[in-house]
């Protein structure tokens, strides 16, 4: 394999490589224009292109294909040969799903119309994807017949791919399928309930529990076999008695875990089919942007393929979506790869706002700011159903667009970007256990979770027997920490609780919203992280149950129990709710932990006295405390932050809380500026000492920003600072003086 990944970077033939490419769809272009078009692509500074190979275009009828024999524009072999002549690398995406705004998303019509292949809803209907120019039933990734049919297509296309694999050919990576995401209908009780999918569910349960008695014990049921377990078709947990509610949750949480398993299964089947046919190269996959929660499981998917990227199509006003995606990949992925990044927009009669060059100018640099090891611009060359690329389908150029990408590639070279690494001392984790509950409790199945629909619009608001409405609060609390650290100018990476202990150890601080339950393995991992010298930030509650709702207090046994509670507390503008107060002063008097009368604390009397980081009022009880554990600490805040949906909701009170936490965990603030509309990131090159400060103005008006020192502006070459003006929706790239 020529393209490999080490230390979150791509290497081609053992040489570190920044993977910068752009999409060109050969079959949609006149063959006589291919050469001219590739020359224009090269002139912009791209050395790699990316193309789909759509099944429906090449298949004439079942088992009969046209790879240029009839229509010369379909000659994949000739196109790949031409790329090689022009010394260009290729990322190849043979599907079977390709979307690419093509009717039926690249599946032949006979495939989507075959009832044996179709995915099935909870009510037994096919699943209709409403895309123009034809709505169509989507296939099931649990259908054996589907894989048999894909196999026929792969049998035909694989020899062409093999003949062009690097090093003798130009293909350096192959994508297995495309945006595996239940066709964006990810609500839990929507689909797939086909026969194959229900069989797969039984297989998942068997792999998880091994013995049906173990499942019966967990579910309080009496099933005779795994096949007898009926999948949930709705969230009925709230209808049971209050004292039994969360006992039934494992059934629903398993269903969500199965949904993750279903996607992993689909990916593994497709990737395996490619490998079986000799496609021995780096295999990757792409997910729609911001798919950081169930049913997506990035870490598990990267156990199947080499790398999983995100596809980003955002407007300039959506800076934080770009940041979250890129930071998440930095925190969790084997190599942060933006497998599709908007260059132009879809031209179909649907109400989707065009993504213009103005958007790209900001979002592209926003992505650069947070660090990637690869980016693929979709599309570099315009074609039917796509508008706004730098090159038109005749090989002509859109001057402004062309210049923009040319300049972008030059800047990457000037920065020696492939050598840079994001400097984040902290990481903020999504609590996957709670995220599974969030999805499981959906009331809006089957409305697709797209656009601006966030969990608060669809989750049940039953407390399910817990201290908080976890499914509502887990995202709210995460958002408060995310916007809080950002506004206070402490760059933190993003990840989730599935990431390895080794990876956590790279950070000084790990923050994660925690509630009444958490998997035993995650509790152990977080505890070990702290014991080994890390600073773990958790709250509002300390888990006392595991994922199966059995007692598990690995973290709790090291921490204080609340002394008293307040419904609400206003802290300098931050309206905190369900506040637990802790009594640090009483710590020396705590009785033996075995004493049932103990109410003030559960930690052993030999443990170090925790430090109060923040009190409700001077001399009053503690809101946040820091407890030493091993060679590290756990910081526990026992309250709910208010809803923070955007940076402007960040109050002085929240900033003060973040400041205390950051100071106690040894994080360094990047710049003195506190305007929440300004965001910053730092990237460094380990070998030469070059350091870049990125300053993003996420607002529609220009801002004067205190960057705290003198820097050289990479684009203008001018020395700026300590106060510098940042135009609206602009990322400044400032290089620190190396002297």
């Amino acid at each position: 394999m020529a393209l490999t990944i080490r230390n979150r970077r791509f290497y081609l033939d053992c040489e570190r490589m920044l993977l910068v490419s752009g999409s060109v769809h050969y079959w949609r272009l006149d063959r006589s224009r291919w050469g001219e078009i590739l020359d224009r692509v090269r002139e912009m500074g791209f050395e790699t292109i990316c193309t789909y190979v759509p099944w429906c275009v090449h298949e004439i009828s079942r088992g009969e294909f046209d790879f240029g024999e009839i229509n010369p524009d379909y000659d994949l072999d000739a196109f790949l040969t031409l790329c090689e002549k022009k010394d260009m690398h290729v990322l190849l995406r043979p599907g079977p799903h390709v979307n690419s705004e093509i009717t039926y998303f690249g599946f032949p019509k006979r495939i989507v119309h075959d009832p044996e292949i179709q995915s099935v809803t909870a009510d037994g209907t096919p699943v209709i994807f409403p895309s123009p120019p034809r709505m169509f039933p989507v296939p099931s990734y649990a259908s054996e017949k589907f894989y048999r049919e894909v196999g026929r297509y792969f049998d035909r296309v694989a020899p062409i791919i093999r003949a062009h694999l690097h090093p003798h050919g130009g293909i350096i990576a192959v994508q297995a399928d495309n945006e595996l995401s239940f066709f964006l209908r990810t609500q839990p009780y929507d689909h797939d309930y086909s026969t194959g999918a229900i069989r797969l569910y039984a297989r998942f349960l068997e792999e998880k529990y091994q013995d049906i008695r173990a499942l019966n014990e967990r579910y309080s049921t009496e099933y005779g076999s795994f096949d007898a377990v009926l999948p949930p078709r709705d969230f009925n947990c709230a209808s049971n008695g209050a004292n039994r509610k969360n006992i039934e949750l494992p059934y629903y949480l398993d269903w969500i875990e199965y949904k993750e398993y279903y996607l992993q299964y689909g990916l593994s089947r497709i990737a395996e089919m490619l490998r079986e046919r000799g496609v021995e190269t780096l295999i990757y996959h792409n997910l729609p942007g911001l798919c950081t929660k169930p049913p997506y499981n990035h870490v598990r998917m990267e156990e199947i393929v080499d790398v999983v990227g995100f596809d980003l199509y955002y407007y300039k006003e959506e800076y934080h979506k770009v940041k979250r995606c890129v930071q998440y990949l930095n925190g969790i992925s084997r190599a942060p790869f933006l497998s599709e990044f908007a260059a132009g927009f879809v031209a179909l009669p649907i109400p989707v706002k065009p993504i213009l060059l103005d958007d790209a100018r900001f979002t592209t640099y926003a992505a650069l700011m947070h660090g990637f090891s690869g980016i693929n611009f979709y599309m570099l060359v315009e074609r039917e159903r796509w508008v706004g690329s730098p090159i038109d389908r005749f090989g002509g150029i859109r001057r402004e667009h062309f210049k923009f990408y040319q300049e972008f590639n030059r800047i990457l070279k000037r920065m020696d970007y492939q050598k840079l690494e994001s400097a984040c001392d902290g990481i903020l984790l999504v609590n996957r256990d709670c995220a599974r509950l969030e999805l499981a409790s959906s009331l809006l199945t089957p409305i697709p979770i797209i656009g601006g629909i966030t969990p608060e619009y669809y989750v049940s608001e039953d407390d399910l027997g817990f201290s908080d409405i976890i499914q509502l609060e887990c995202t709210r609390q995460w958002n408060a920490l995310y916007f809080g650290f950002g506004a206070a100018k402490y760059p933190v990476a993003i990840g989730d609780t599935t990431i390895s202990e080794e990876r956590l150890a790279e950070y000084k601080m790990v923050a994660v919203p925690t509630f009444d339950f958490m998997s035993e393995s995650v509790q152990k991992k977080l505890s070990n992280y702290a014991r080994n010298g890390g600073h773990l930030v958790i709250g509002p509650r300390v888990p006392v149950l595991d994922y199966t709702m059995q007692k598990c207090n690995i973290l709790e046994k090291n921490l204080l129990k609340p002394y008293e509670g307040l419904d609400r507390l206003d802290l300098n503008g931050a309206a905190l709710a369900s506040v637990d107060l802790f009594d640090i002063a009483d710590i020396s008097d705590i009785p033996d932990p075995g004493d049932s009368a103990s109410v003030s604390a559960s930690i052993p009397s030999t443990a170090p006295v925790p430090a109060s980081l923040l009190a409700a009022e001077p001399g009053h009880k503690t809101l946040i405390y820091q407890q030493s554990i091993g060679s590290g600490t756990i910081i526990h805040f026992g309250f709910l932050f208010p809803r923070i949906a955007e940076p402007d909701h960040v109050t002085q009170g929240l900033l003060a809380i973040i400041e205390r936490i950051a100071t106690a965990t040894g994080l360094d603030r990047t710049i003195p500026e506190t305007d929440p509309g300004i965001d910053v990131a730092v990237q460094r090159a380990a070998d030469c000492g070059r350091e870049f400060l990125f300053v993003a103005n996420t607002r529609a008006t220009r801002r004067d920003v205190d960057v705290g020192g003198r820097y050289r502006d990479l684009k203008s070459g001018e020395v700026v600072g300590p106060v510098t003006t940042v135009p609206a929706y602009t990322v400044l790239i400032l290089e620190a003086d190396q002297r």
Partner: protein, 271 residues
């Protein structure tokens, strides 16, 4: 209607952007509150802008009927509309749609299957306060079909909208066998069309240019931006269109003879 393999090519960025904003984003979205209920028992209250508002559920818990709760919330909260959505209604919409949609039918007909599935819930699974017009419920596919049947077959239809003297947006639609097979713009031929400084004079030149490129004289409509906005906002779009044609706010070229006679009569007998 819309062909399975319709070609949508050669669009100017600005043209697409202008058209999108004219059609889809002419107004700022109005705020609303949605009550999700199960058999009349509220289980969730959501503000379209502020997200979940659980306190509203508690504050209006003394309302016996969901309709009372809608009215009370409407009176006290600054929102344009309050909706009540029965929990199973959403699933019923999807099920009804997915059972009835014809996967071989054209896209417009497929959209009507979805519209019909939603309409079935109006007044039952989905209610609103203040009551809406429900015009959508009465709008039928056969009306669109009739309208489409009146368009010439195997022809090009062109719509051009001007902003000042510039082309603000332009659509050229190719129809073959009653199906739209091409959606494109003047962009490919635009450089060959010189600007006369007066869009009313430019109409013929544009029409001739399109004929030269595609070999067919298009049925063309030209209007300024203001008229187009009026058309988009008009409740009776057909009437507005006909009026604008007869008063020459909309200029047409290559209109079939029967329509020209109708327009002529309309000018003479305006009422």
């Amino acid at each position: 209607m819309i062909g399975e393999n319709v070609r949508i090519v050669d669009w100017g960025i600005e043209q697409w952007n202008n058209f999108y904003h004219a059609i889809f984003h002419s107004k700022t979205p109005e705020s609303a509150i949605v009550i999700i209920h199960n058999d009349g028992v509220p289980i969730k209250v959501v503000h379209t802008k502020d997200g979940s508002r659980p306190e509203l559920k508690e504050r209006f818990s003394d309302c016996c009927q969901i309709q009372d709760m809608m009215k009370a919330i409407y009176r006290e909260e600054d929102v344009k509309t309050v909706y009540a959505v029965a929990y199973p209604a959403i699933r019923r919409i999807f099920t009804r749609f997915e059972r009835t949609v014809d996967c071989d039918a054209n896209y417009i007909k497929q959209l009507f299957s979805l519209k019909d599935a939603i309409s079935c819930e109006f007044g039952h699974g989905i209610t609103q306060y203040p009551a809406g017009s429900h015009w959508l419920a009465d709008f039928e596919y056969k009306t669109v079909k009739k309208l489409f049947a009146s368009a010439p077959d195997n022809a090009l239809v062109m719509l051009t909208i001007f902003s000042g003297q510039d082309i603000w947006t332009n659509w050229i639609i190719g129809i073959e066998g009653g199906t739209i097979t091409l959606i494109t713009t003047l962009d490919v031929i635009k450089p060959k069309i010189g600007s006369t400084g007066d869009w009313r004079r430019e109409c013929r030149q544009i029409t001739d240019g399109v004929k030269k490129q595609f070999g067919v004289k298009p049925l063309s409509f030209f209007m300024d931006h203001e008229t187009f906005r009026g058309l988009i906002e008009a409740k009776g779009k057909l009437r507005f269109f006909a009026d604008a044609l007869s008063t020459k706010k909309i200029v047409s070229k290559a209109l079939p003879i029967k329509y020209r006679i109708m327009l002529f009569l309309r000018r003479i007998f305006p009422k």
